[in-house]
């Protein structure tokens, strides 16, 4: 599959401190790639490197198979961005902001109607942006990113500060982008729930390092676990270890949790029963993205925004 984005050995050091470390990342063409990591993990920095806003200390960024450093302007002409803040000129109207983008990118201004429709901002387009709510600003900024039918849309925490309704609307829009606009989406978020809902590929980032990457389904389903309760837990633990199974860190006295390895649930159950244990509960569990997040990033993931900061005019 062609990669919309490929980075090789991407690194950035500032003042002797490594901010981004040797990131090899592949964003497949089409679909939504969710870039997940806690605040300060380096998501925005990597996005800024990908769109050429920062120069890497080492490594390369390729967009659509071409090296960004060699043809930056031509390649960036195919990228729509919404990085860090909406970046709209508040004293201008929404439509005027889009007009500026059209002029700079050489896009036919008739495209403005299409993108305003897509984000449902037609009716407010002739009002000054300073009168918009935060959600409207984000939608207008997304409209601007969609001008000219870009092949790649880079969205940095696009739901930050939105109210629950705004978050849902924005997620719906993002989910639709590949099918409706033919764009690959690179989305960053510190919210696991958000990425789970919209992305089909994910990359997990910790302290500037990409610690896991792949299709969401595959990453969510790797290394199944088995949770077991018996009449003699301590002895059961010894028996399971003797089978070559690895105990999971979530395992507790009342509920043993083991990585299944190559064995099936039926095989494990049979071994226990044949060993004379009375098995009262045995359940196979998917590892899940949450577990992967905790294992790889060593912290509890956030599922939703903690505070809602919708600014109403």
């Amino acid at each position: 599959m062609t990669a919309a984005i490929r980075t090789e050995g991407l690194s950035l050091s500032l003042g002797g401190r490594a901010i981004v470390r040797n990131v090899d990342m592949t964003v497949p063409d089409g679909g939504v790639y969710g870039f997940l990591g806690p605040n300060g993990a380096g998501k925005s920095t990597i996005m800024r490197l990908i769109v050429g806003l920062l120069r890497p200390s080492a490594g390369t960024v390729s967009l659509f198979g071409e090296n960004l450093a060699q043809r930056p302007r031509a390649l960036l002409g195919q990228v729509g961005i919404l990085i860090e803040s909406h970046g709209l000129y508040e004293h201008l109207t929404g439509r005027e902001n889009l007009l500026l983008a059209c002029r700079l990118r050489g896009i036919d201004r008739r495209d403005i109607g299409r993108v305003l429709d897509a984000v449902a901002m037609h009716r407010a387009a002739d009002r000054a942006v300073k009168t918009y709510s935060l959600g409207m600003k984000q939608r207008t900024a997304l409209a601007r990113a969609l001008l000219g039918r870009p092949r790649l849309v880079v969205l940095d925490e696009p739901t930050n500060g939105l109210d629950p309704e705004g978050i849902m609307a924005m997620r719906d829009l993002i989910r639709e982008l590949p099918a409706r606009f033919g764009a690959t989406v690179l989305l960053s978020s510190h919210l696991l729930g958000e990425v789970q809902e919209v992305a089909d590929h994910i990359g997990l980032l910790r302290q500037g390092e990409l610690v896991a990457e792949g299709p969401l389904r595959a990453l969510s389903e790797t290394e199944p676990l088995i949770a077991i309760s018996t009449d003699r837990q301590a002895e059961a633990r010894t028996a399971l270890l003797a089978l070559g199974l690895e105990e999971d860190r979530d395992s507790a006295e009342e509920r043993l949790v083991f990585r299944m390895g190559r064995l099936t649930a039926a095989q494990i159950n049979r071994s226990l029963v044949e060993g004379g244990f009375a098995v009262s509960a045995l359940a196979q569990e998917s590892r899940g993205l949450e577990r992967l997040y905790r294992d790889k990033l060593g912290s509890q993931p956030s599922f939703e925004a903690h505070s809602v900061q919708e600014n109403r005019p």
Binding site: L53, L88, L99, A101, L104
Partner: protein, 241 residues
């Protein structure tokens, strides 16, 4: 380049910058109107333009207004957080900064024209209304020379002010620089010192007030032309945000 110019001009619409370019330059005209209306004597055009408008502009309004307009131009990008958007556009980055500099230069020239035209218009109108029409001939030549000298001689401070305004998010830095430059320039004037000819703010002031104004125009312009590529080189490699 035309697209960049058009975009930068559109950004000015409805911004504070246009108000600042249009209103404060009329201050000399307002003072002239007040002076004619309240004084018994009849002033001369030479007094109104040569001894009031031009010194007031060169000593005080020029550096302070330039600092303020440049700061606002920087803040248009910083306040809206639009650097990320502007810097990934297909145009080369130097073009964006050069366009901003060109527009600042044009706005500065417009302020100069407004200041002179406002002063002459105020003198003529209030003179006719009060019957105390300024004596002598309207000094058009002096006005034109002033606009040309100030405009060219201010290129260095214009470049420095814009550089600082675009380089740092904090508007206080740019304004503080403007105030500091103005104070040094005033100190040089008050003490009558012939030192500090290398100081860009002094160059700009002397290009309008000094007898060897042309020399200072050349110096201000030359320094400005040296600074422009350095500014463009520095800004285009910065991670502005």
């Amino acid at each position: 380049m035309i697209a960049s110019i058009e975009v930068e001009l559109r950004k000015l619409r409805g911004s504070l910058i246009l108000l600042l370019v249009a209103i404060p330059p009329l201050l000399p005209g307002a003072i002239i109107a007040l002076a004619i209306a309240t004084n018994e004597g009849v002033p001369s055009w030479e007094q109104l333009v040569g001894r009031l408008t031009i010194p007031l502009w060169a000593m005080f309004l020029n550096p302070t207004l330039l600092a303020t307009v440049a700061t606002l131009m920087g803040q248009i990008e910083y306040r809206s957080g639009s650097w990320s958007f502007m810097l990934v556009q297909p145009q080369p980055r130097w073009q964006l900064f050069l366009t901003k500099l060109g527009i600042l230069w044009v706005l500065h020239a417009m302020m100069l024209v407004l200041a002179i035209a406002g002063a002459i218009l105020a003198g003529a109108c209030i003179g006719h209304l009060t019957g105390r029409v300024p004596t002598g001939t309207i000094p058009w030549a002096e006005g034109i020379r002033f606009v040309a000298h100030m405009s060219l001689g201010s290129l260095a401070i214009l470049c420095i002010q814009l550089w600082v305004a675009l380089r740092w998010n904090n508007f206080v830095i740019s304004l503080a620089l403007g105030i500091a430059g103005t104070l040094v320039q005033l100190a040089v004037l008050i003490t009558g010192s012939d030192q500090a000819g290398w100081f860009p703010w002094v160059m700009a002031m002397r290009s309008a007030l000094s007898e060897n104004g042309a020399e200072n125009v050349r110096a201000g312009l030359a320094l400005g032309l040296v600074l422009v590529p350095v500014m463009l080189f520095d800004l285009q490699r910065r991670a502005l945000k």
